[in-house]
């Protein structure tokens, strides 16, 4: 690769323009602190011949109001391409790129703003190191030898510390199983082993979960645990690791494990860590790259997605949607569906609010004297409602159900099947918030919860026309078919078109009963 010298031609409120040939990682520093990295060619666009432009990432843009010493350097050589006092926007103060807790933050390789390790003190990361040891021990107690992987292993092998631009810690193991279904079962079992040690865990897929670790100053850091397995056939031996790796590999390059040093402590590593790192990052793994991007082949993505993914579709989008409102009590009035449920249960009973969101309906229903079980993909969205209900001594319980995961549907369905007395389930824009698999799971959950005379009241956007964000219209007949397949008797289906001149989608209302 031919590489020329490079330089910065322009810096303004929109972004940077640089010159130079030959791709390389470039760091952008604010008052001497790395905040963002990108590749000179890969991540930029050519505006005029010889000039490469890149916009400020949206996550960074909101901080660009004030003054800073702006420095641009080549990551590997350290060569300074730009170093000047700059003003952005109108504020006269220094630009401070910090998170809600006041901790310095920067952009990780996915351009997400996070408290990357280069902003952390040794005291800050000590709880993470302790958590890694505890989690490794919990996994070992379940019979699996896990080790440092991905960026954490790379940091340990290359620098004996966390990579400055990394934002989470990673563990992996190679299963003794070779069938993906067994690998998934084992991952479920390991999550339980870790959860029993008192950690809060979060499942990404059938082969990966996260442990939330609180650091010294309250920053919550993700510790990921990835499953791998080796598929041995007559054609060879291929290692698959969630979520990026497929490589020709020998089991004895992993086990027995050896040790490596991370932040002054000893941790397990694969037997030949160089082989593992090459499988993860390619042959240039030893060259530092703060803006690394996986170039996982389409086939590997198809394989890993097919075997392991599909259990948390759209969850991150819903979490983001609710993150701003966390802790705030919703002020929305009760929906017509909630009022209808209350009128059905005029002499008391239980409302199962499926897809409760922030819980406005749930709280209103509980205040009418009803027992309420509020279910959502993102139960933290209804935290404030749960707290208020507890303070007011109302019978309201917020719980998680994931319609893309049968286990939650079956376990919570079993729980709801035990509820005595009249039951009504409301599902307000839940069928249109999920996919086909989720709608079938909704029908299954309703069937388990409502057998013996329980009713389901369901609202759905049916299209054509505009729907709110993250909701996709579904024909009412399709919803009815899925419910009927689970034993429902459809009492009412009604569609109401949008008002004349409105761009909005039509709405559907459905009432079903399980006898």
């Amino acid at each position: 690769m031919v590489a020329t010298r490079a330089g910065v031609r322009r810096v303004d409120d929109d972004g940077l323009a640089l010159w130079g040939f030959g791709d390389r990682a470039v760091d952008v520093l604010f008052d001497g602190r790395r905040v963002w990295s990108f590749w000179l060619e890969r991540d930029t666009r050519t505006t005029v011949p010889g000039v490469r432009s890149i916009d400020w990432p949206s996550a960074l843009r909101k901080f660009l109001d004030g003054q800073t010493r702006l420095t641009v350097t080549e990551h590997v050589s350290g060569r300074v391409l730009y170093d000047q006092e700059r003003a952005f926007g109108t504020a006269g103060t220094r630009i401070e790129i910090v998170g809600r807790s006041g901790a310095p933050i920067s952009l990780d390789k996915s351009n997400r703003i996070s408290p990357t390790f280069d902003t952390r003190s040794r005291a800050d990361v000590l709880p993470l190191l302790t958590a890694i040891s505890t989690v490794l021990d919990a996994i070992a107690s379940a019979g699996i030898d896990a080790f440092l992987a991905y960026g954490t292993l790379l940091g340990a092998i290359r620098e004996q510390k966390f990579l400055g631009h990394d934002s989470d810690a990673d563990l992996a193991y190679v299963s003794a199983h070779s069938h993906p279904a067994d690998v998934v079962r084992e991952s479920f079992r390991l999550q339980r082993a870790v959860q029993e040690r008192g950690f809060h865990t979060y499942r990404y897929s059938g082969a990966a979960f996260r442990i939330d670790v609180e650091e010294g100053d309250g920053v919550v850091r993700g510790l990921d645990v990835f499953a791998g397995f080796i598929d041995e056939t007559s054609l060879g031996s291929v290692l698959y690791v969630m979520g990026e790796i497929a490589a020709d590999f020998q089991r004895d390059w992993v086990y027995p494990l050896r040790t490596c040093t991370l932040e002054g402590q000893s941790f397990p590593a694969p037997a030949v860590p160089e082989r593992w790192l090459e499988a993860s990052y390619g042959p240039s793994w030893a060259v530092p790259d703060p803006a690394f991007q996986f170039t996982t082949s389409d086939r590997t993505v198809r394989q890993l997605s097919g075997w392991f993914r599909g259990t948390s579709t759209n969850r991150a989008a819903w979490e983001r949607a609710y993150s701003g409102a966390r802790g705030k009590l919703p002020t929305a009035k009760p929906s017509p569906l909630a009022r209808k449920a209350a009128s059905y249960l005029s002499s008391g009973g239980t409302v199962i609010d499926l897809g409760a969101g922030r819980g406005a309906d749930s709280l209103w229903l509980a205040r009418q004297g009803l027992s309420v079980r509020a279910y959502d993909y993102v139960p933290s969205a209804a935290q404030a409602v749960q707290q208020t209900a507890t303070d007011e001594e109302l019978d309201l319980d917020v719980r998680m159900v994931n319609l893309n995961e049968w286990r939650t549907v079956l376990a919570e369905g079993a729980r709801m099947s035990r509820v005595d007395g009249p039951r009504v389930m409301i599902a307000r824009h839940t069928a249109d918030a999920t996919n086909r698999f989720g709608r079938q799971a909704l029908a299954r959950f309703a069937s388990m919860s409502l057998r013996g005379g329980g009713r389901l009241l369901l609202d759905v956007w049916t299209g054509p026309g505009r729907t709110p964000d993250r909701l996709k219209p579904v024909p009412i007949d399709e919803v009815a078919r899925d419910l009927t397949a689970q034993g429902a008797r459809i009492l009412v289906t009604r569609e109401r078109p949008a008002r004349e001149g409105s761009q909005r989608s039509s709405r559907g209302r459905l009432v079903a009963q399980w006898d």
Partner: protein, 75 residues
Amino acid sequence: MGLKDAAGRLKPKLGLGDADLARRVEALEADVLELRRHNVRLAEIADVVQELLVPLASRDQARIDEAIEKFSRSL
């Protein structure tokens, strides 16, 4: 070797046109995906049965409730 490469080699032998072959490959990929997807669901069912069947067989309601609660917490 990916499916598309294999298909490219087979094409002259089968006497298929490009569009036809592309459709067949697409359908084949969808079929493979459908089969792969059974893995996670099979594992889910096995997990639920294993974790909840024993307490359910005990017919001890308190034990059953506790088992469901514990299971749900781990998801």
